[in-house]
Amino acid sequence: MIGEKEARKLSEAILKRCQGTPAEATILFNDGALTRFANNFIHQNVSERDAEIIIRCFIGKQIGTATTNRSDEAGLDELVQKAKDNAKVSPEDPNYPGLPEPATYMRVAAWDQPTADYSPEKRAQAVGSVCRLAVEKGLNASGAFSTGSNELVVINTKGVFAYHAQTGADFQTVVMSDDSSGRAQESAWKASDLDVETLGRTAIESAARGHNPRKIDPGEYPVVFEHYVTEDLLSMLNFYGMSAQALEEGRSWMNDRLGQQVMSPLVNIWDDGNDTAGSPLPFDFEGVPKQRVEIVKEGVAMGPVYDRYTGAKMGKPSTGHATPISFRGMGPIAMNLFMAPGNATVDEMIRSTEKGLYINRFWYTRLVHPRDCVITGMTRDGVFMIENGELAYPVKNLRFTMSYVQALANVEAIGKESHLLVGEYGGFGTRIPALKIKGFKFTGSTV
């Protein structure tokens, strides 16, 4: 960890080199390690220490960018000079709204020293506990346990200085037999919040009861989705429609639907970078404080998230959702999504289903058509037929092609527990519950 004091010194060294040229920069320090296992042993085990410094220089409305991972004197000289050179040859961007002024952001607790110091031995011990359980059952465990920390600094020549330090831990495992599998995952910013052994037992139980899966006909089925599927639903709806840029370009599922009932009244989705129940980040990559944004309220499409660029084009203020400079062209994005939990347990959802499918997870989901967010993908790591309120038998994996907007319109019940899943080495954090959906369309099956 370099800490806020050193981060400030480095920031000053960068801005000093701009010599009056307006500029913004982000600095990201990353210290990460990941222990990977398969066939019940550790086969890959890695660590890295890296940094990324990105600067955008502005000559009027001409913009140039440069990136480096060097923080020595010569590296910083080169960085600033390249950004200026790039700005000089770049035509003006008439939509550039200028740099933001400093603003107060919430200080959010997200640092846990034991997680930052987590040793490879401790990761190995945790992984070993799951591998031993799998061996006892004659099963094959694989997965990854990652721990680490990052520090983000956002600065500009108008006086913005925003600093956030965060730790993270993630455990995920797939347990397999020759014809079955199960998977479990949990993320947290404190490694001690992860119950690795319980996650292992969950995956083992699914693999153990999944033998001899039956092939069933594709078609429309009621489904009970574990929260892993819900994460995929929100992630796709986010990428293909929760940003102001997608809306402005006419490719969002929210286009022509703002203020309308598009999902079940049970569905509430929002983004909140300040909530420590998620993976908090209290400001965006322009240094603008993050606001809680209601995206879907009781099934009604409320609106997208904005950065300053899209906000200025669309006559709205930024909601604090600017992406890193190198991804700025993608437009703003929600990085801290939540779906409100309901009042049912997964067992209750299964018990209330006469005939349907229980699905643990989706895999390799891709956009087929944007406007309704039609997605195709496969089921994976645990699919069971539900009959008369019980898991009756395992089922071979199915392909689906389905509008995710329609899927959330078909929600009948929502899980009372929500779970946090975070992207690798930090990144997007999503807190989501399980779902029961009255109709979901499967279009094929696999061998």
Binding site: I42, D85, N86, E121, S146, H369, D372, E424
Partner: protein, 481 residues
């Protein structure tokens, strides 16, 4: 740098490593993107650092850092050793790397014009010109043109005596037009989908694609697709795939399942496994007799072209499928040794801070004998599809579903009406066994896939896929209604 590398290797050996290797990598990338007449991105990026991989008592450890100093080399090596010893707490079969690798030499991918020697103004002018040409077509919602230029310098050394020095230069670029009408959204791209084609080569490659000269055609196609007929649904018919779509089909349904680490289960938790298990080697009819697939890191222009892989194994060519029969895998030293073979140079790391894992090199469908026009003329009814829009495949690489930007109905041996929202689906070996015609070398192009994700922590690899249009019988099309 050599001194730093030798210091790391010596320390690793001294402290008990049975094998160690180290890579120092400096990557320079220039990204330029123009959207609707505005420069969306003009970024000069560089990253440098080193990684040390050690084998201690048969288990692996790896550590890496951006700080290229002797002291940091000591720290990182010590960390790699500590990690390897932790791996030993949950160990399996001891790693066997097979015969030593002692490669020496320097290598550079060929190019005519160093892309970093071309003035930025000149690069921008090409993209702005393409943008302006697309802008002449009324009705587009957005238009984009982009260039990606990469120069990567990589040093490799191991404790067996290898030391290699190579520079890989890549040039990528393309244009994309998006049209929106009612609830319909259509995209057309050139030369390849998802914003760009990419090759190992210089600025001359981007000039040869003539982005401005193709801009109006691409824009007009996007507009025309808005009102085109939809792809017929739930139809089983003849499918002809154009080169860019076929390249991705090869990548997903040939390249990935032949990765031997997937077969041995070491990617099970993330990328998945493979249906091409080892008992099928030499006996399984993967495709029809016209299907010949090759893994080749020597071929010009390919994104899988280099001097040595990241274990120091020399670039080479080896068959994966010969006359339809499955005969080979993409292998590392460790997995090849387990199979009783030697590595065919497929270990690649996405950067200094990642370990090498098995990746595709240039996995290509060898050309057949057909002229494209003859193939169309020989088809009574079918659909021609080109340029990927959507791709998905299961974790064993059996069940796939693809969507394309554009399609045409083929009727009585002629290209007919334009079709939108084309999709097709199938099971990999059934699909490749239904292939009855592949176009000749005149139609064969080395396509680039610069966005292949695999591994934890994630790595994005650049892979090449040579392909000429090919015909497949009895394929289910039109999944989207």
């Amino acid at each position: 740098m050599k001194e730093l590398m030798m210091r790391a290797l010596d320390l690793a050996r001294l402290r008990g490593a049975q094998y160690a290797d180290t890579r120092v990598v400096r990557n320079r990338t220039e990204s330029i993107s123009v959207k609707d007449g505005i420069v969306e991105e003009l970024n000069s990026s560089e990253t440098e650092g080193f990684g040390v991989r050690v084998l201690v008592n048969g288990t692996w450890g790896f550590a890496s850092s951006r700080n290229l100093t002797g002291d940091e080399a000591d720290l990182v090596t010590a960390q790699a050793l500590e990690i390897a010893r932790a791996s030993g707490l949950v160990s399996g079969e001891k790693v066997n790397l097979g015969a030593p690798v002692t490669s020496q030499g320097t290598y550079q991918t060929p190019f005519q014009i160093d892309p970093f020697s071309v003035p930025l103004e000149e690069k921008l002018a090409v993209l702005m010109s393409a943008d302006a040409e697309m802008g002449k077509v009324q009705g587009l919602r957005t238009r984009q043109s982009s260039a990606t230029l990469i120069k990567e310098h990589k040093l490799f050394a191991n404790t067996e005596g290898a030391f290699t020095d190579q520079t890989i230069v890549e040039t990528g670029g393309g244009i994309q037009a998006m049209a929106v009408g009612g609830s319909e959204i259509q995209v057309r791209s050139y030369p390849n989908a998802f914003t760009r084609q990419q090759v190992t080569g210089g600025w001359e490659a981007l000039i040869s694609w003539d982005l401005p000269g193709n801009a109006q055609r691409v824009a007009n196609e996007a507009i025309a697709l808005l009102t085109a007929d939809p792809c017929p649904s739930d139809l089983t018919t003849t499918l002809i795939l154009g080169g860019t779509q076929l390249a991705l089909q090869i990548h997903e349904s040939c390249g990935h399942p032949t990765e031997l680490d997937r077969v041995y289960g070491t990617e099970a938790a993330y990328a998945g496994t493979s249906f091409l298990t080892t008992e099928k080697l030499g006996t399984f009819h993967y495709g029809s007799p016209v299907v010949n697939l090759t893994a080749d890191s020597l071929r010009p222009l390919g994104l899988g072209t280099f001097g040595w892989d990241d274990e120091g194994v020399p670039a080479q060519s080896s068959p994966l499928v010969k006359d339809g029969l499955f005969v080979g895998y993409l292998m590392s030293r460790e997995t090849a040794s387990k199979l009783g073979r030697t590595s065919n140079a497929c270990m690649r790391a996405s950067g200094w801070n990642r370990i090498p894992i098995i990746r595709m090199v240039n996995v290509s469908l060898e050309p057949g004998t057909w002229k494209f026009d003859d193939m169309i003329a020989d088809t009574d009814y079918g659909i021609y599809m080109e340029s990927n829009r959507s791709w998905s495949i299961d974790d064993k690489r059996y069940n796939f579903q693809f969507g394309t930007e554009i399609g045409y109905e083929i009727k009585n041996g002629k290209m007919g009406r334009l079709l939108r929202n084309c999709t097709y689906t199938g099971i990999t070996p059934e699909f490749w066994n239904s292939c009855d015609a592949v176009c000749n070398p005149d139609h064969w192009v080395m396509w680039g896939t610069p966005n292949c994700g695999k591994g934890q922590p994630s790595q994005v690899a650049h892979t090449g896929h040579g392909a000429a249009p090919a015909r497949f019988r009895n394929v289910k099309v039109g999944v989207l209604k």
